[in-house]
């Protein structure tokens, strides 16, 4: 049975909620407006600038479970045709080796691990993974020597440059925190910038 105390408690709670309702609504509306403004102004991101070394090609270095040997790059222009607008792409030639001592597992190279650094505060452009021996999305085998591969970046048709910069990300072999029930087995994750390579670039025009 409800006691008088409980009834009075409920009444007081009711009053308090009503008295401050407008303030609460204004506070919630402010949070929503703030979120919308931040979303449309480009998100909550801190531009840090470059935090890793920049080296000149040709160079060989290790990043996470891969060893990269960067050699050359090319801007390839495709002129406008009757049905297609003019296009341009950047092709980077590099050697890739799987050095995953932790898992000894075959894996593909994710496109987001190799980036074309455009500069000027713009977002880097992601690659399309590694194309080796004419096959896209090559599966790199642990224990085999490095494969010579290329990777492609879609760039605007008027893109120019004679020394392009490519960013390489390295994953680390970490485990998640098991406190909330996730498995604590480590896996390759948490990619971080590892190296920027400056590559002399030639420009060619592709004709059909």
């Amino acid at each position: 049975m409800e006691s008088l105390d409980d009834v009075i408690d409920a009444m007081i709670a009711d009053r308090v909620i009503h008295r401050h309702r407008r303030k609460w609504l204004i506070a919630i509306a402010l949070v929503v407006v703030l979120a919308v403004v931040i979303f449309f102004t480009g998100g909550w991101r801190e531009k840090k600038g470059r935090t890793v070394d920049t080296v000149d090609a040709p160079t060989t270095f290790e990043a996470g479970r891969f060893e990269f040997g960067v050699t050359s790059a090319q801007i390839i222009r495709t002129p406008k045709t009757t049905y297609d607008p003019a296009k341009a792409r950047v092709e980077l030639s590099y050697d890739v080796k799987n050095i995953d001592d932790e898992e000894r597992k075959s894996t593909t190279l994710q496109g987001k691990l190799v980036l074309l650094v455009v500069g000027g505060g713009e977002d880097p452009i992601e690659s399309n993974g590694a194309t080796c021996r004419g096959a896209i999305n090559w599966v790199f085998v642990y224990g085999l020597p490095a494969e010579s591969c290329t990777t492609k970046f879609d760039v605007p048709a008027d893109f120019t440059g004679d020394k392009l910069e490519f960013g390489f990300l390295a994953e680390s072999h970490d485990s998640d925190i098991g406190l909330l029930g996730a498995s604590e087995d480590p896996y390759w994750q948490n990619e971080k910038a590892a190296m920027v390579v400056r590559v002399p670039t030639t420009t060619t025009t592709e004709t059909k």
Partner: protein, 194 residues
């Protein structure tokens, strides 16, 4: 309105203790994972996968593979092609990942060209024959085992298949490498009534 009655607090404490108890009751890591029952077998043996079966018919070694009239793709190692057949039962089979493992603990995955990188099942009552091609390191072949690992989102009891491909040591691996064919043409998958 009392939010924290004594009984509420007691029930909470009880749940925390129960959680701790299940943690204690978990067996030591006797198996790789406790929720996977692994069916072991050899080449030519129909292996139960839930109420379906998987049979590995043959294994071929090759220096290159050809897919769909494209140019042959070569390797610094060797390609291992596994030809298998599945017969689908009525139960849901979900999807699975195929991989080769060796005694050294290396894990090989199918080449990108095959697109389907696990055992492929069709409708109940039908059989499907397919082929998986793996690029492998020719110096790391001993104990070659084919694994079909069920993919799952929730950790529940499930079943995997593991097939011994008959490469017990480096000597036999060398024989297989010596007799490797220059090219392996990836066959088209065939579906028929089981």
């Amino acid at each position: 309105m009392k939010l924290y009655r004594t009984s509420t607090v007691l029930v909470g404490v009880l749940f925390v203790l129960l959680g701790g108890l299940t943690r204690l009751a978990t067996p030591e890591r006797v198996y790789d994972s406790e929720n996977r029952e692994i069916v072991h077998g050899t080449i030519g043996e129909p292996l139960k996968y839930r109420d379906s079966t998987i049979t590995v018919h043959r294994v071929k070694f090759a220096k290159a593979y050809v897919d769909d009239d494209d140019k042959p793709v070569e390797t610094n190692g060797v390609f291992v092609a596994v030809e298998y057949e599945t017969v689908r039962g009525t139960e849901d089979v979900g999807s699975n990942d195929a991989s080769l493992s060796t005694d050294e603990g290396t894990e090989y995955r199918p080449v990108a060209a095959t697109i389907i990188d696990g055992a492929d099942f069709v409708e109940p009552g039908f059989a499907r024959s397919g082929s998986l091609v793996f690029e492998v390191n020719s110096a790391d072949l001993a104990g070659l085992t084919l694994n079909f690992v069920s993919l799952q989102f929730w950790t529940v009891l499930t079943q995997d298949v593991s097939v011994d491909l008959g490469v017990p040591d480096d000597k036999i691996a060398q024989q297989l490498l010596d007799t490797a064919s220059p090219e392996y043409v990836i066959p088209k998958t065939v579906t028929r009534v089981a």
